[in-house]
């Protein structure tokens, strides 16, 4: 299984596959279905300083090959996440990536400082890209300076490496990625959801109570691949890629694009066993394709840049 071993800042992963934040709760439900120890890592649900209820329902809507969500960062709050959820997760040999959210910089800083002390939290994922909250979230993610500033503040108080989660709802994702790298981020995770909307045929009203929501699932995969391709060639920090991954083949495509590990979100709802299924399939797929190690796939698409740019 060492063919899947991946080393990232703070994270020594037995394989590069992990559930994406918000699509796996804190693991309790999936633990009833399979042994979480098979996972490379786990990105837990966004945590804020105070408990949050989130947005009114309906919070999800289906779209062609995708879904919209507007959960609104519901979570039990920092204290309970540390005291109950992370404590419960200690039984597993899985390094946790804690997804950190807030309304203003101070909130992020507080959550980062405290949650990074939890023994099984090996890295933070700064969520500056949630499109479903009125303040904070995406506001930080679309402005290079704000993103850099927040990264710096969080980095200063964190005991573990800090990954920043990028929003795809921007004109120039490379500029934002570079600003975040310069601010000291240890890695990037991308992409969060695309802003979308669906209207009810009968009423004309938005299906989501929050009106707009975040688009995820296979529909957004080509956008994610393109952005990872662009950003990975512009920065020197690793990228954990996500956006529509459903199969081992998709994982390889993300590695080709320039990801060093991947997260699976929406697909968990379609098939709750998707993560272990992918992890089991990967070595066979590496055989078929003739690679020794998953990292051999990393950035293969880059090589053609020079040629095509000529």
């Amino acid at each position: 299984m060492s063919r899947l071993q991946v080393e990232l800042p703070g994270l020594s992963l037995k394989n590069p596959v992990m559930p994406a934040s918000g699509c796996f709760g804190f693991g309790r439900e999936y633990a009833k279905l399979y042994d979480l120890n098979v996972l490379g890592s786990m990105m837990i649900k966004a945590t804020t300083a105070e408990p949050r209820f989130g947005n009114p329902t309906p919070r999800v809507a289906e779209t062609p090959a995708g879904m919209l969500n507007a959960i609104g960062l519901q979570n039990p709050g920092l204290d309970k996440v540390i005291g109950e959820e992370l404590a419960w997760l200690e039984q597993f040999d899985v390094p946790i990536i804690a997804n950190v959210a807030g309304s203003q910089a101070e909130d992020y800083v507080e959550v980062a400082r405290e949650i990074s002390k939890a023994p099984n939290v090996h890295a933070l994922e700064l969520n500056i890209s949630c499109p479903n909250v009125k303040t904070g979230g995406i506001a930080f993610g679309v402005d290079p300076e704000m993103a850099a500033d927040l990264t710096r503040q969080v980095k200063a108080v964190s005991d573990v490496p800090v990954y920043v989660k990028l929003s795809p709802n921007v004109t120039n994702i490379v500029a934002i990625a570079k600003a975040i790298e310069n601010a000291g981020a240890d890695g990037l995770t991308m992409i969060n959801t695309l802003l979308g909307m669906r209207l009810d045929l009968k009423t004309g009203k938005p299906i989501l109570a929050n009106r707009t929501g975040g688009l995820s699932g296979p529909a957004i995969k080509p956008v994610a691949v393109r952005m990872i391709y662009e950003v990975s060639q512009a920065v020197n920090i690793p990228i954990i890629g996500m956006g529509g991954i459903q199969t081992a083949e998709d994982v390889i495509e993300f590695f080709y694009a320039g990801a060093s590990a991947v997260a699976v979100g929406t697909a968990n709802f379609v098939d709750p066993f998707v993560c272990p299924t992918i992890i089991e399939k990967l070595p066979h797929l590496l055989d078929e394709l003739g690679y020794d190690h998953i990292s051999d796939c990393h950035g293969r698409s880059w090589k053609h840049v020079a040629y095509h740019r000529a």
Partner: protein, 258 residues
């Protein structure tokens, strides 16, 4: 326990306008309780992407079969309606917490109130209640005559009143009209149906022993995604909640905000 299984289609037929009865077979049936539901992938591939929550309507443990009744209305359920005997369906279940059968005692009267596509889960409930000696009364509301289904099945278990909104069959009006006109008395009430109906029952039977089954749009169906939460009625903090998929879909009357 909850499993994901390719179940065999035993039979499928249209029992009322756009209402289908699908019988599936597989070991997953072993753990099923009335009021629980399954999460069904209606097509392979990416469209439709999400599973569809459908209630368990009746279970045959010996044959390892269960029945679901559903309305083929949207993209997913219309595809499901095409499945034929011999094909397979990808089912995740059983999910959620069903109706508490134990709360009704032999000799007592249980009133089962269903509205439209909320009627199906009451059938297995009624079977289990009558089996343990509980007297059941069914009050079932539908839009119109063509939408009525399973009347005989319910009738064979206990008194069954039908209301139709357009008055084309049974009592004209809503289930609450039947409850009033017939002066129905009960020890315990179980209900499933559209939210306005549940709200009317809550107003009427607040403080009584009653259980309501809720509907909400779902993502995961197992409690992980926070798509299906509802507020608690007694909630000083404002952020306590229940998940319809894993804490429900059945809640005691008065527990959650409808």
């Amino acid at each position: 326990m909850m499993q994901k299984q390719w179940m065999d289609v035993v039979s499928q037929r249209e029992i009322a306008t756009d209402i289908f009865e699908l019988v599936l077979q597989g070991s997953l049936t072993a753990a099923m309780q009335p009021g629980q539901f399954v999460h069904v992938k209606t097509a392979e591939g990416d469209t439709p992407l999400l599973r569809r929550p459908i209630s368990i309507c009746s279970v045959d443990l010996e044959k390892q079969q269960f029945t679901m009744l559903y309305r083929a209305g949207g993209q997913g359920t219309k595809l499901l309606a095409r499945k034929r005997a011999g094909e397979q369906v990808d089912v995740l279940g059983p999910l959620g917490n069903g109706f508490p059968v134990d709360e009704a005692h032999p000799g007592q009267t249980a009133c089962l109130v269903g509205g439209g596509i909320g009627v199906p889960p009451l059938y297995e409930l009624s079977k289990q209640l009558t089996a343990k000696g509980v007297r059941v009364i069914h009050v079932l509301g539908f839009q119109t005559k063509e939408a009525v289904f399973y009347e005989e099945e319910f009738q064979s278990l206990g008194d069954t009143y039908i209301a139709t909104a357009d008055g084309t069959y049974g009592t004209a009006g809503f289930v609450t009209d039947v409850l009033t006109h017939e002066g129905i008395q009960f020890d315990i009430l179980y209900s499933c149906g559209p939210t306005p109906m549940l709200k009317a029952l809550e107003e009427r039977y607040h403080g009584r022993k009653a259980y309501l089954s809720l509907e909400e749009r779902m993502g995961c169906g197992i409690g992980a995604c926070f798509a299906c939460v509802c507020h608690l009625q007694n909630d000083p903090t404002g952020y306590t909640y229940k998940k319809v998929c894993s804490d429900g879909p059945v809640f005691p009357i008065g527990e959650v905000v409808l």
